[in-house]
């Protein structure tokens, strides 16, 4: 009789434990699912713009094409930030499933968009500034979160700024080349229109660097 009681408690414990695990796992999956959906449309958008840019290069800057690319861009820019925030939050909250692959996909699409944006300035008439924000995914980098908030408020007040993000901890061929080219060694760093700024930059300084009127 004694043993039955212990067995029952053990079985119940294991069951309850698995229920808790399943809830955690379910939430992990939900996060992945949501992020995957958002990321898919974001990546498609980036690829779409990249091929559009290739066409512009061939046609030697047709101003009509440029307008199309430009308007497409403004629809994308808002997404970068929302996705970034989601990714950081979900990554921290996830316990069992990792965001590695999705995160790399997201960062790569960001770089694609950034390059397209730079090419646009070269081939089309453009009055926008490109801001590449290099952050660190290490939790010890609390300046990165603060810098992120500042960039967010700059983006809201200056319509001519395009924000892209890059994780300094991530090692990918294209990211490594960018790090080398712009001499980025620490986070947070900003690359604004090809010029590198190290350390936290306050709002006024960023606005000045991107020549934001208001």
């Amino acid at each position: 009789m004694v043993n039955l009681k212990y067995a029952m408690a053990a079985v119940l414990t294991v069951n309850l434990f698995f229920i808790v695990l399943s809830v955690i796992d379910y939430m992990d999956m939900q996060r992945m699912l949501r992020f995957t959906n958002d990321l898919a449309s974001f990546s498609t958008g980036a690829q779409d713009l990249e091929s559009a840019m290739a066409m512009i290069q061939l046609e030697k800057s047709n101003p009509e094409y440029c307008t199309i690319v430009d308007s497409a861009y403004y629809q994308k820019i808002g997404q970068t930030n929302a996705l970034m925030e989601k990714m950081l939050g979900y990554e921290r909250a996830n316990l069992f499933t990792e965001f590695f692959a999705l995160k790399r996909q997201f960062l790569l699409s960001n770089i694609q968009l950034w390059q397209v944006s730079q090419m646009e300035r070269q081939y089309c008439y453009a009055n926008h500034s490109d801001l590449l924000y290099i952050y660190s995914s290490k939790p010890s980098c609390s300046e990165c979160q603060i810098q992120g908030r500042m960039i967010d408020s700059v983006r809201e007040s200056c319509k001519n700024v395009r924000v892209f993000v890059m994780d300094i901890e991530e090692s990918m061929t294209s990211l490594d080349i960018i790090k080398m080219k712009y001499n980025v060694t620490s986070a947070p760093s900003l690359v604004i229109d090809g010029k590198t700024y190290k350390g936290v930059m306050d709002e006024a300084a960023i606005k000045k660097a991107v020549s934001c009127g208001s």
């Binding site: 004694v2 009681k5 212990y6 029952m8 408690a9 053990a10 119940l12 414990t13 309850l16 434990f17 808790v20 809830v23 955690i24 939430m27 939900q30 996060r31 949501r34 925030e85 989601k86 939050g89 979900y90 921290r92 909250a93 316990l95 939790p139 609390s142 300046e143 979160q145 603060i146 908030r149 500042m150 936290v200 306050d202």
Partner: protein
Amino acid sequence: MRKFLGFISILGFIAAILVFMVADATIQLAFVTAIFLFSLFTVTFYGLTLLEEKRLPVSKEFPSLTVIVPSFNSEKTIGECLQHVLAMEYPHKFEVVLVDDGSTDSTREIASRYPVRIMHRKQNKGKAASLNEAIMQARSELIACVDSDTYPPKSLLMRSIPHMGDPNLGAMTFFITVHKPRTIWQKMQEMEYLFSFGAFPYLGSKFNSILVTPGPLTIFRRTALVKIGGFAEDNITEDFEMGLKLHRARFRIDYLPISIPTEVPTSFSALMRQRIRWYRGTIYNVLLYKDFMFNRKYADVGTFAFPIIALYIPVTVVSFFFVLARMMHFLQDSATQAFQFIVYQQSLPLTLDPLFIRPDMLLFASFLVTYVFFLWISLGLISEKFTARRITGFLMVIFVYPFVNAGFYALSLYKEIAGSDLQW
């Protein structure tokens, strides 16, 4: 040698914190899972006993009774205590013995105003010795040991003695509650007592696994006390030792949910002194009675209740270091964020996305649910309700108590290893 051991234990404590500080997510997850499983098993086991029905035997006999009140410098409470003791209803006359353990205040003058027999001892020899002396002289069948700061209700004897007919029953324990809590520490203890003297012994009594015969008030069978040789005079928590000793002599300990208000420490330092005495006593007695560990001879005490208490000590201490390490991380983060807020005027946003909830919050929630469940059972036992005045205590017990209590355990463990003097 002792000093060396104390030094080693401090090094061990620091090492434990450092290990948790640098521990990666996997180690943390493994640790939390282990603690969670341990608690979950304990709670499920107790929870399952809720389904068991148990009726106490009822007899019509009211055997002879002696009430022993050991006291030492308790002029503030002794009057009220004796009033309550003498007001207790009982068919026969019962003797009340006050053992004055060499008090230096007016305890004896106050006590002499009441119709009680006063045993005076010139030297202060401790509670256990006082009780033993009175027990030796008593000739009654039952002996109630009442602390001088405890106020038993009128109906206590009429409600409890009829259930004490079984000669195998060594002791009857009760629901100790906090008398008129005023300070926040008392309010915290009020909620803690509900839990540790309510639901837990109530459920424990269903499989005869009450290990402690609470000092404030317990009714013993005199033959049982004589057989096991009374209270241990060199033990700082003689009530825990008494419980174990009764189990060893194969006596049963039962429980009745009758509320017994007692005075509790008012300040943090007094609470700390009391708890360090309790927990050092627990560690000392667990080591003294280690043959109970997983011993099937003692049924559920040996296979469940004793191992849980024994494991609870290291688990609490290690969890304390874990939480301490997490807290240090948290403080570090908060400090940098505060710094950045001051320097850059930027703060982090609050997000309302439900998927941002982290899994450790889920664990916290499950502990909270368990606590509330047992609290609800405890309140039901003495048919009380969760009123607004309990909210402070409730919040304290959720957010402050686990940390403070674990700290007391760590300190007790250190003192027990380093071997500083035991004090009452």
